[in-house]
Assembly symmetry: C2
Homo-oligomer: 333 residues x 2
């Protein structure tokens, strides 16, 4: 089958992805073999491309979010058969979805209604799980004492989904940060009650909307900059959810406020085989929210065709930090 | 009044504390004036002595845990009168309890039964609040999905109280770490189900008691060393409570497991005037637990007399890391 692979980690300059003929995925007993139709492109993909070297002589296929059609179901899978329209997340420890086919554990997958197009379905699973597991952290809900939440760098995929999920599943006041007029407008559309500019002084903007501090901060993007001011705006015994950690963080100021930190990496369950049944449950609730018209797929950029050129442009958009909503690539139509 | 003060921060070598005549504390409307009888000496005291410089020309009185007798009650206090036997915690932003008298907000104080001696009462408030707020973090309880907890460096004051509180208020399996035979024995006495040695390899010791990982770790003492192995033994989506943070911490391995971190500094409420009513409530429940015979005051070293020599010896014990239970100093008898 055709796949976009890389043999050595690379910066954007060299990029390093190539379209190659590779063997079909090997199926485990708990796997589905998926014929891919659409894939979501995420910041995690570009980070792995830059930082993770394949085994000597080997290669990596990126891509951890997809929609497609079940081609074959392993003998220990449950509830799937060939022909099912499915969407789901991949596994960081295995080959991914930048390919014509992919093998994936059935517990990371769910079917989706025939009314939903494949590009929408591919735009949601990974960002939904990431946002969900970052903020609905106490028995699947926000901590009880959270009445408002700030989402830092909210215009991208995870932020867009977090905004929609918070609107659909809670009654908290939602403050998004964004910096451009179009990303601010997008955040409001996705559900933000307020939008402030993270390139300007934060506290005066907070005060202008009647707040001195916030109960919870969700850092989706830009922690390297925001770590300077986030400790100032979190309330004592507040919550700080982080998905974009890079390098050591000085926790001194957060300590002084006795903050709770929710670290989240969406691949934790697949790496450690921990509560593997949860992703499918979250995707099932997501489908109900979509059916109820409470959530829509925030795919705003669609590429057509599994080519190096398309993928390079998608990665460049992410690394430039200018993505609004989600990037989806159609592998087939 | 007499007080132990310091005019410049100092290491143990110079120490820098002196016994001086200073003005009586000024009383705010929400303050009680306390005639001190006994005070607890804590690791926080020695850290402030080493790191916090007084205002130019000024001085600092350390000591944030005490028992004594109410001498005067400010007009906006509730429920106290002169002659009451009380115990409580001080306020990091104000002068402390290394003195004959002290002014303290009434919400940081509670009365204690006449059957309990002053030295016992002085040994518990700060360590109780510290342990409580570190581990009973979800609506005053442990997270629901915690079935076992490891307390690292458990033989000191906070660890001893954490062990007792866990035994009294939960049914989780408690693993303490200690390194000497006498501290191990102490941890068992305080309620540890298992004790392992943090100077030896951790995983083989865990496996020997039938565990591959733990749901929660509470770092009371020794994070600088234990940060190397704690990420290995915490389960995915586990919990890490920290009170002994110093400097930046690399959260990468904790991120990979999507760990929740509870940072705790017992002075957060007084610094930020946040939920100021909570300490008195916790102390009230503590008294009930003591009355019920479920918790005892872990004071094991008693000094008599507010002298530089006594205090220097107490601080040296703490800095040498050899304290079992709590150190109490009798200001009066």
């Amino acid at each position: 089958m055709k796949a976009l692979i890389y043999r050595h980690k690379n910066t954007m300059e060299n990029f390093g992805l190539e379209l190659a003929d590779v063997p079909e995925p090997e199926l485990r007993d708990t796997d589905l073999l998926i014929e891919l139709v659409a894939i979501g492109i995420n910041p995690g993909d570009t980070q792995i491309r830059q930082n993770t070297e394949p085994e000597p002589g080997g290669y990596i296929i990126l891509g951890y979010e997809f929609s497609g059609i079940v081609k074959k179901a392993g003998r220990h899978t449950k509830g799937f058969q060939a022909g099912d329209r499915v969407f789901g997340i991949g596994d960081f420890m295995r080959n991914g979805a930048y390919a014509e086919q992919m093998a994936v554990d059935y517990r990371n997958v769910n079917t989706f209604p025939s009314g939903s197009p494949f590009d929408h379905a591919a735009a949601v699973p990974l960002v939904t799980l990431t946002a969900w597991q970052s903020i609905f952290r106490v028995n699947g809900q926000l901590p009880e004492d959270v009445k408002n939440i700030m989402i830092v760098g909210a215009a991208g995929g995870v932020g867009s989904m977090a905004l929609q999920l918070l609107k659909a599943r809670s009654s908290v006041r939602i403050i998004a940060t964004a910096s451009r007029p179009e990303s601010s407008a997008w955040c409001r559309k996705m559900g933000a009650d307020e939008v402030i500019n993270h390139h300007e002084e934060i506290l005066p903007q907070l005060r202008a909307i009647g707040l001195e501090e916030v109960d919870m901060v969700f850092s989706v993007n830009g922690l390297k900059d925001s770590i300077r001011w986030v400790p100032e705006v979190i309330r004592p015994y507040g919550y700080f959810a982080i998905i974009d950690l890079q390098g050591a963080v000085d926790l001194g100021k957060l300590m002084q406020k006795s903050v709770t930190i929710f670290l989240e990496m969406v691949f934790t369950r697949s790496i450690y085989h921990y509560q593997s049944e949860l992703p499918a449950k979250v995707l099932a609730e997501l489908i109900e929210l979509v059916k109820a018209g409470k959530i829509s797929a925030p795919g705003t950029t669609i590429f057509r065709g599994l080519t190096v050129e398309n993928m390079k442009e998608a990665h460049a958009m992410i690394e430039n930090g200018n993505v609004i909503g989600k990037i989806v690539l159609m592998v087939a139509e």
